[in-house]
């Protein structure tokens, strides 16, 4: 069902197709990078939606398009070279992609908070932490300096930074990695966003600190009730906190499911393989680990076939002929693999 390289998907097989109650609904998002070597198709028809209070985990190996997808939502990509070629991002009844930059700015940091992967470089090194937390407060909530300061102290307390009054005056380099990530979270939460996007928020951190941050996010989510998108490539992390999980590969969502079904019954070969690579999960008899052969796909061409096909152990003719749409597998589980065509 592929026409001109752009996939037409069956309506019923949309992640949370009931976009009615969703805070955020992404529809058929396409993002392209125009580079000297040609166009890189980083995101190819991603759709999903997010209910209030829901935590969506997004997993996939490096280069699968997780970050680009999320940054496309708020047009945080460098344009050019990036271009969002099609799709819609419905938030609060508006399409974020068609907003003016001015309107979009109100959403950024106001309604949608963003946490980035590397806490070491994501904070501006020459401004105090206080300044950086206060900035969005003044920008979006129009608070006075005093009020903004007070709120900043509250926020720092909330994310668990001891003696916040003094630490406001400190510079990022005076914080440890974990603390910095807390500051990033405080900034993202500053204006009570409805949606929080955490892009590999704990990848750069130690296990112990990661555990601290995850606990923190869990607590905050219960307390504030916001929807969260949690991007990671650590399947363990997602298992602990997510409600739903989207598995991305080659710029597409290849499987989407509630967390239990996904781990109990992974249906896409890629998801299966990913889980098997974990030590103690699908080890060979001789004690060797399972691994996925081959390399991540070259995104220079729009996908006309299943992007995972070259590495897939179940590959058959159809895989090379067309890019599979998402098929419904279970109640709350869909996957894009021609093997599942019959089941759907």
């Amino acid at each position: 069902m592929s026409t001109g390289g752009i996939l037409v998907r069956e309506d019923k097989a949309q992640p949370h197709s009931d976009a009615a109650g969703a805070v955020l609904a992404v529809e058929n998002l396409h993002t392209v990078f125009h580079t000297q070597d040609g166009d890189v198709h980083a995101v190819n028809g991603v759709s999903f939606s997010l209910k209030p209070g829901e935590l969506l985990g997004v997993v996939g190996e490096s280069g699968s398009g997780k970050s680009v997808t999320m940054m496309s939502l708020l047009k945080l990509l460098p344009i050019p070279p990036a271009e969002i070629t099609s799709g819609s991002v419905m938030f609060d009844g508006r399409d974020l992609l068609s907003l003016s930059l001015q309107e979009l700015r109100e959403v950024r940091g106001g309604d949608i908070g963003f946490i980035f992967q590397d806490p070491m470089t994501s904070l501006n090194p020459v401004f105090t932490v206080g300044f950086q937390i206060i900035e969005p407060l003044r920008e979006h909530l129009g608070l006075s300096k005093r009020d903004a300061r007070k709120r900043a102290v509250e926020l720092m307390e909330m994310v668990g930074i001891p003696s916040p009054e003094q630490r406001l005056k400190d510079f990022p380099h005076q914080f440890s990695g974990g603390m910095r990530q807390r500051v990033m979270i405080a900034i993202a939460l500053a204006c009570d966003p409805k949606v929080l996007i955490a892009d590999e928020a704990t990848t750069a951190l130690d296990v112990t600190v990661q555990a601290q941050i995850i606990e923190l996010i869990k607590g905050l989510r219960e307390e504030l009730g916001m929807a969260i998108i949690w991007i990671t490539h650590d399947l363990g992390v997602v298992a602990g906190i997510a409600d739903h999980v989207a598995v991305m590969y080659g710029g597409q969502i290849v499987e989407y499911a509630d967390v239990e079904s996904l781990y109990a019954n992974p249906s896409h070969p890629y998801t299966q393989a990913l889980l098997e690579t974990l030590p103690g999960h699908g080890d060979h008899e001789d004690g060797r680990l399972m691994s996925i052969p081959g390399q991540a796909p070259n995104l220079l061409n729009p996908p006309n076939s299943c992007p995972f096909a070259p590495r897939c152990r179940h590959r058959f003719d159809k895989c090379d002929a067309a890019n599979p749409p998402l098929f419904k597998v279970g109640d709350d589980q869909i996957a894009a693999c021609w093997l599942l065509e019959d089941r759907a």
């Binding site: 700015r105 950024r108 908070g113 904070l123 020459v126 920008e139």
Partner: protein, 342 residues
């Protein structure tokens, strides 16, 4: 940071002594003679006597020691004495009558007085051109980087390359021909006696400064705008810029607050490193517009083999270079909170 600065300054003392010795040795080796400028009609015996009177024939070490003593002891004492005249510390230091000061051979007047006399016009013209250069360069650098490869960037690059590549002795003459000879807008000769005390004189001062300042500013701006652009480009791709955008800040704030502040750190240190050049004067420009600042003083001294003058000027210049190197390093530490000297 304080102890770092002190340590560097302590290290600077032997360095500067070595530098002063080397400069002195260099000047001693240099051919040339203070009587070389005199007309050939003056007979050799007279020349010999003149040299004798200047102390030119003393042994090298003696002259060096004398200079060192005069410059490092007598001159400061003298400065204190004059500064104190009439103030609370009057009389603390006395005896200026028999203190030998560093005396220029060609003018027979104290070198330090000459330097003090020349400093204002140098600061006005060269300093102003530096400031103007910076003021032009920073916005150009910022815009060129923000719109990399746009027409603005290309033109900016082109002009700054021209400014960098055409010697000031040519731009200077060209300006004089156009603005003084053809248009008659600005004077071609800088009047150092002008005292600014009214709007009218201020306007005169502005008029006579425009050409030299512009010639030099073009040159300065060319260099600094290149630095600025490179630094901006480095920073525009940093993660924190994305963070700032994600916070919903406007482009203006993102670029002019977050990126600019970071980009300025290396540029400001480069600027600080260039400051000694201001005090060194711009020899060629000063000559063309007859500003007669420190640069002209130096070149006159060199041409007239006025070694006490050249020695003192170049040594002061060396001090400034060492001090501003330190200042640049310290500035880096101050501007960039990540850097701590200890």
């Amino acid at each position: 940071m304080g102890s770092y600065a002190i340590r560097r300054l302590l290290f600077a003392i032997p360095t500067l002594l070595v530098i002063s010795f080397i400069i002195f040795g260099l000047l001693d080796l240099a051919p040339g003679d203070p009587t070389g400028q005199l007309p050939l009609t003056i007979p050799p015996e007279v020349r010999e006597q003149i040299r004798e009177a200047m102390g030119f024939n003393e042994p090298f070490i003696v002259r060096y020691w004398l200079w060192l003593n005069q410059f490092l002891v007598n001159e400061p004492l003298n400065l204190i004495e004059t500064a104190c005249k009439g103030a609370w510390c009057d009389g603390f230091v006395t005896g200026s009558e028999d203190r030998l000061r560093v005396t220029s051979w060609s003018t027979r007047s104290p070198v330090v007085d000459l330097i003090i006399e020349r400093t204002p016009q140098t600061l006005w013209v060269v300093g102003m051109s530096y400031v103007v250069g910076i003021l032009i360069a920073i916005p150009i650098g910022v815009i060129s980087a923000y719109r990399q490869y746009s027409w603005f960037d290309q033109i900016g690059t082109f002009i700054s390359m021209i400014g960098f590549s055409v010697p000031t002795f040519f731009t200077g003459v060209l300006m004089i021909v156009i603005f003084s000879v053809w248009l008659g807008w600005f004077p071609s000769v800088y009047d150092t006696t002008l005292v600014v005390n009214s709007w009218e004189t201020f306007w005169l001062q502005v008029k006579q400064m425009i050409m030299p300042v512009m010639v030099l500013a073009l040159f300065n701006a060319s260099q600094i705008s290149r630095f600025m652009r490179a630094s901006m480009l480095d920073n525009l791709n940093q993660d924190y810029v994305r963070t700032a955008r994600a916070k919903g800040l406007g482009e203006k704030v993102v670029v002019l607050v977050h990126v600019l502040r970071n980009s300025l750190i290396p540029v400001i240190t480069v600027i600080a490193l260039g400051v000694p050049q201001i005090f060194g004067g711009a020899i060629i420009t000063e000559q063309i517009f007859r500003v007669n600042g420190l640069g002209a003083l130096l070149i006159n001294g060199i041409q007239g083999a006025d070694y006490p003058l050249v020695q003192t000027l170049t040594f002061l210049f060396a001090v400034l270079i060492v001090v501003f190197n330190l200042i640049a390093d310290l500035l880096y530490g101050i501007l960039d909170p990540r850097i701590r000297y200890d």
